[in-house]
């Protein structure tokens, strides 16, 4: 097991290195570059721009800049925001909770609802329910998340007045109930796509398990079909879902960004857009790296967890 953990950890580090190349290349080589925010300021002379270039170390060879940036990054110095001079890690950290809360709630919703639909579809394969859910899942996958958010606001906030249209809490009222009320709409909107994906995968996974010998044995032993379903089928078909949960992290994170913009949710996605608007490159870069880091950690955690549960994986 230790060997597996080490090799998996090594792979993640190599991936992180390549990810950092891509992130650095995107922001450095892009036309405009970090200086474009100064070039447009009135009264800027070429001399001043040269001076800033030198101060920021932008006249050094690219690989020197990269190594400099990378060593700072792994020691926890992600630079300071151009906008308010705060350390980037601090800025990101203060928006992390909101995003993780949104993602966590949405994932809990989608896993429980999606898995239930998937299991029911599998055991009633070919039924009206199964067919309806297949089509519904494909339509759900095709609806743009942000547009679904707008429609949800239109129906549930503007017309019915049941739920708030945005933000994370009301000023002056930050009770748990208040958070929950604000959380319901964005979390449900974000969960929609994922419910579709989970139900599809869970259906396939359940179908794979249903026909295996141990299920037949359990039935032959005379266990009730309810007991077979709950103890033997569901447990085993959930195992591959752990990998899926890891692989879904980038999608949920991307979806969170879009959802946050529609619901003015103060998370990383909102921060990312604001920082882009201000050409706040250190924060943009930091968020790009932080999101990739979250994805890598998610995949790694899923792989290690599944290796713990299913010994066959370790031998691979």
């Amino acid at each position: 097991m230790l060997r597996y953990i080490l090799s998996r950890l090594g792979q993640s580090l190599i991936l992180l290195l390549i990810v950092s190349f891509i992130g650095f290349a995107v922001l450095t080589l892009a036309p405009g570059g970090p200086l474009s925010q100064f070039a447009l300021s009135p009264g800027m002379t070429q001399e001043q721009i040269d001076k800033i270039t030198e101060q920021m170390g932008l006249n050094r060879p690219l690989w020197v800049q990269y190594i400099d940036w990378f060593t700072h990054m792994i020691t926890g110095d992600w630079g300071t925001s151009y906008r308010d001079g705060q350390p980037v890690l601090h800025v990101i950290g203060s928006h992390l909770f909101a995003t993780l809360l949104l993602m966590g709630t949405a994932t809990t919703l989608s896993v429980s609802i999606g898995s239930s639909i998937g299991i029911l579809s599998a055991i009633r394969r070919g039924s009206l329910f199964d067919t309806t859910m297949t089509v519904a899942a494909m339509i759900a996958l095709s609806i743009p998340t942000f547009w679904f958010g707008l429609i949800a606001i239109y129906i549930f906030s503007l017309n019915l007045g049941w739920l708030p249209a945005g933000n994370m809490y009301n000023i002056g009222d930050q009770s748990v109930l208040d958070y929950l009320r604000h959380l319901i709409l964005p979390a449900s909107v974000l969960a929609l796509v994922d419910v579709a994906i989970w139900s599809r995968y869970m259906r396939t996974s359940t179908l794979n398990v249903i026909h295996q010998d141990f299920v037949r044995t359990a039935r032959a032993k005379g266990l009730s079909s309810r007991r077979v379903l709950l103890k033997h089928i569901v447990g085993n078909s959930l195992v591959p879902m752990i990998t899926l949960a890891g692989l879904q992290v980038p999608m949920v994170l991307g979806g969170a960004l879009v959802t946050e913009t529609v619901f003015t949710w103060p998370g990383m996605g909102r921060l990312f857009l604001d920082s882009l608007g201000y050409s706040d490159y250190p924060v943009v870069m930091g968020l790009l790296m932080a999101s990739a880091l979250l994805v890598l950690i998610g995949n790694l955690a899923a792989d290690l967890l599944i290796a713990q549960i299913d010994p066959r994986v370790r031998l691979d």
Binding site: V135, S142, W147, I151, L273, L276, A292
Partner: protein
């Protein structure tokens, strides 16, 4: 050593008649084709049938609700006809979708076939790059790229392609790896054909099924991504309409003019659903294993 004479390579014709038949008997796929075709026709013929063109500004007719004054889908905050804009936007959004499909599929296929054919270190490096690109949430990467470029439709198509080629690369790599040791490839080696010939004339055509499936799903994905970034203001720029940028600003008029938000969103959903249905049908058609599902 006696061996069976080398039979002619088991190359399947590009469009297998069996696959075509299976596709045509797939009800959802046909619905998908009908959805996409009717939307395409509407977008290209529609503008000629409408009394207004998409740039005609009429400030007296601002926020006209659907069905009034000859505006079937109503008007926008500048009094422009939404139907006319919707159809023009559709031409652009779908063109971007198809451009991304071609660019991303071509690039992904080349990466995949090279990686699958050479294997070993080449494959390890290329596939780690694929993994690294997949580690970024594509919306983040796309927005970071979009913020730094001149947002013309061509550039938008290019950057969406830059975040959409990885799936195809993975699929083609796996397919080519499994084909690499088959008789017809060995035969091609013995005939002294160049690596390039074997990769692009022998291996790639045999992987065409999964490539077509991935391509149809790429169109759907590209239309969604274009809508996202244009909605956020980093994609196709006005006055050029796209389904995404028609939604930009719709949120502030949600209470007074909901049709601004509803109409383009429905168009996007129809287009994306159509391509997803087609992709699903193609997958079943090419994959004989899933035939009994």
């Amino acid at each position: 050593m006696t061996s069976a004479p080398l039979t002619s390579p088991a190359r399947r014709p590009v469009i297998q008649s069996r696959a075509l038949r299976r596709f045509l008997s797939h009800r959802l796929a046909l619905i998908g084709v009908i959805m996409v075709l009717s939307l395409t026709l509407a977008c290209f013929i529609g503008p000629h049938l409408l009394p207004y063109d998409e740039l005609h500004i009429d400030l007296r007719a601002r926020f006209a609700p659907p069905g009034t004054g000859g505006h079937i889908f109503g008007t926008d905050p500048l009094g422009r006809d939404i139907a006319a804009r919707l159809f023009h936007a559709g031409q652009i959004s779908m063109a971007v979708g198809f451009a991304v499909m071609i660019i991303a599929t071509a690039f992904g296929s080349v990466v995949g076939v090279i990686s699958g054919y050479y294997g070993g270190r080449v494959s390890a490096v290329l596939m780690r790059i694929v993994d690294a690109f997949l580690s970024f949430p594509s919306v983040f990467l796309l927005l970071a790229l979009a913020a730094f470029i001149q947002p013309s439709p061509v550039m938008i198509a290019l950057i969406i392609s830059a975040t959409s080629w990885m799936e195809v690369a993975r699929i083609v790599e796996a397919e080519v790896k499994s084909l690499r040791n088959q008789d017809f490839v060995q035969a091609a080696h013995m005939l002294g054909l160049s690596g390039r010939w074997i990769m692009f004339r022998e291996l790639l055509p045999n992987a065409i099924g999964p490539i077509i499936v991935a391509a149809s799903l790429t169109v759907a994905r590209a239309i969604l991504l274009e809508a996202y970034i244009s909605f956020l203001g980093y994609g196709i720029q006005p006055p050029l309409p796209s389904w995404g940028n028609m939604l930009n600003g719709a949120q502030q008029y949600l209470a007074s003019a909901p049709w601004l938000a509803i109409v383009p969103g429905v168009a996007i959903t129809i287009a994306v659903t159509g391509f997803n249905f087609i992709g699903d049908g193609l997958r079943d058609a090419f994959d004989s294993r899933s035939g009994g599902r």
